[in-house]
């Protein structure tokens, strides 16, 4: 049984606001299925006594002092913005016209 099917990819694409053609959905479903199945083989190696790993480093409690550091200027912050106005990022209408 496939781990990832076409419907799941279509759902993800919708969540991510990515427009995909039928052809792309079919191709990506196949690719993602292969990736997910390959990664799933890890669970065959690790028994139930091995806790899930979210990062490879044996570190904990890496904290920062609560001290203000260097910041970007407004100009720098907006330098990659496709559009801006009044010192703010300008984005297209969020809701579709109703």
């Amino acid at each position: 049984m496939s781990a990832i099917n076409r419907e799941q990819v279509a759902h993800l694409a919708e969540l991510a606001h990515i427009e995909m053609t039928e052809e792309e959905l079919a191709r990506v479903a196949g690719e993602l299925d292969l990736i997910v199945s390959s990664v799933a083989s890890v669970s065959q190696a690790a028994g139930p006594d091995v806790p899930a790993t979210s990062h490879p480093l044996p570190l904990q409690n890496v904290f920062r002092e609560d001290v203000v550091g260097e910041t970007l200027t407004q100009e720098e912050a907006l330098s990659n913005a496709p559009d801006s106005q009044d010192g703010k990022f300008r984005v297209p209408a969020i809701l579709d016209g109703e």
Binding site: L15, S54, N61, T71, A77, N80, G87, K88, V91, E98
Partner: protein
């Protein structure tokens, strides 16, 4: 879509409400949750920004240690268990308020869980709220919608984003479902949010200013037909940003749900938006696929691990819980239930405590704060604490009275001038020459005048009607423009007439 409402009374006859709250508290740390950008309100847009705040490619977050300690303190104040080990998680969603397309939050491992909070409703009825969890996360950027009606997102042509708030440390406190509040549900909602606000302010971890969004409440409401125990479908009302609004929003949603259910229709599980102007809610987006957040552990952050020693160190730093403090102060001051409630509602408990600590008696402190100062605040249409009167001023005024320099009437004037910024009470008394006239020469002259004008009164007093002396004190006070020491005036009159007081 039915927007009818049933009367609250009728709704209560047919249904039992079930509540749930998600309260977001913005911490008052110097910097953001995961980067060293300043956490300050009201600055120029997009200036409290680092590459991490913008979610630029390749950036790495680092956890603010102070924010973690604040979260643990809040967990302890809410009587929660503190996780021995917890992770951060990515909550994925696409919306312009987050530039990285996920919010860094906590998912299945909140830092604090299984707590409870004892509340007291206005009439003293106790109510326990069970806390499900309190977890750490970050705030989102602020959107301004342009081109639609009154800044609403509907019909907007485009939106503007300020990421100054993006990454500000938040703690989200989630309650377990609250049953059994009945018709007290709206009041309970307000009391609960007020208690959270008070706790975080008392802990010193948040500025707790609701008008700035430091404390924000999402209120979940559902109804069960009377006599049943299965929860109904709930709505989640957002944008409820004042205590009064929380109470009204819960009340409105109960009435709206009741109307929908009574008409035989079903409640749509959805987000509702509260509108203060119309005092009603409108439909937001339905709960749907958009809530498929696909949480997964944040690979760029390492776990937070707590030790008993660390937790106990933080516990030792906790201030006295507000409810306990109120009980203690009420007993120490000897105020009646009503007197104490008035003091709390007027927001001057701290002021009175300091006034007493600076040397005034509880009765004197209450007399001034709840009397003349409260009157001046009401007249100016501001909160008492917003007036420039301090506990030290009150103690000084009281000392001037005790020394016989001024009387109560003058003291009220002096406080009025303190409010107007004329300086300290002693300076005002000096500068305006407000001290009572206790100079016997001046008083004797005024007394002689008064007696000469009212020989009949003099005769009465001589005849033993000592209480008639009041009729002479009046003109003397008038002649000295209220600055005479009434006790001394009485004494002089009686001495002159050779009558025992």
């Amino acid at each position: 879509m039915s927007e009818d409402v049933l009367s609250f009374e009728e709704a209560m006859e047919r249904f039992d409400p079930v509540l749930g709250f998600e309260v977001h508290v913005e911490l008052n740390t110097n910097t953001k949750m995961f980067d060293a950008a300043p956490n300050t309100f009201g600055d120029e847009p997009n200036t409290n920004i680092t590459p991490v705040s913008l979610g630029l490619p390749g950036v790495l977050p680092v956890v603010n240690g102070k924010a973690v300690e604040s979260a643990i303190k809040l967990g302890l104040a809410l009587n929660c268990s503190i996780a021995e080990k917890c992770h951060f998680a990515r909550k994925n969603y696409f919306y312009p308020d987050t530039p990285k397309n996920f919010q860094t939050s906590q998912y299945d491992e909140p830092i604090a869980f299984d707590g409870q909070l004892e509340l007291e409703l206005e009439d003293g009825t106790p109510f326990t709220i069970e806390i499900e969890r309190a977890h750490m996360e970050e705030d989102a950027g602020k959107l301004t919608h342009v081109g639609g009606a009154t800044g609403r997102i509907q019909g907007a042509a485009y939106s503007l984003v300020d990421y100054n708030r993006s990454g500000v440390p938040l703690i989200e406190i989630v309650t377990k479902p609250i049953v059994g509040a009945g018709s007290r549900a709206p009041e309970l909602a307000r009391v609960y949010v007020a208690a959270i606000r008070e706790i975080v302010k008392n802990l010193g971890i948040s500025d707790a200013r609701m008008e700035r969004g430091n404390v924000r409440c999402d209120a979940n409401v559902s109804l069960m037909p009377k006599g049943t125990t299965e929860f109904g479908t709930r709505s989640e009302t957002k944008n409820v940003n004042s205590l009064r609004a929380v109470e009204r929003a819960v009340r409105f949603e109960i009435q709206r749900h009741a109307a929908v259910l009574s008409a035989g229709e079903k409640i749509v599980q959805e987000t509702r938006h509260w509108h203060e102007d119309t005092r009603s809610t409108t439909s937001g987006r339905p709960k749907s696929d958009a809530d498929d957040y696909r949480y997964f552990p944040e690979p760029d952050l390492v776990p937070v691990v707590t030790t008993e020693a660390w937790i106990e160190e933080l516990r030792a730093q906790l201030p006295e819980p507000p409810a306990q403090r109120r009980k203690r102060l009420k007993a120490e001051w000897g105020y009646s239930d009503e007197e104490f409630r008035d003091v709390v509602n007027a927001g001057v408990m701290d002021e009175i405590e300091q006034t007493i600590a600076t040397g005034a008696s509880p009765a004197v402190a209450r007399k001034w704060w709840m009397g003349e100062i409260a009157r001046l605040a009401k007249q100016a249409e501001v909160e008492i604490v917003d007036l420039p009167v301090t506990p030290a001023h009150v103690v000084e005024v009281n000392a001037l009275i005790d020394e016989g320099k001024i009387n109560d009437k003058l003291a009220k004037k002096v406080i009025g001038f303190v409010v107007e910024g004329e300086g300290s009470p002693s300076e005002i008394v000096e500068a305006r020459g407000l001290a009572v006239v206790s100079d016997d020469g001046a008083l004797t002259a005024a007394v002689d005048d008064a007696m000469a004008q009212m020989p009949d009164v003099v005769e009465k007093i001589k005849g033993g009607k000592v209480q008639a002396v009041g009729a002479l004190i009046g003109p003397v006070m008038k002649a000295t423009r209220g600055q005479a020491d009434a006790g001394r005036v009485r004494q002089i009159i009686l001495e002159k007439l050779g009558v025992q007081g």
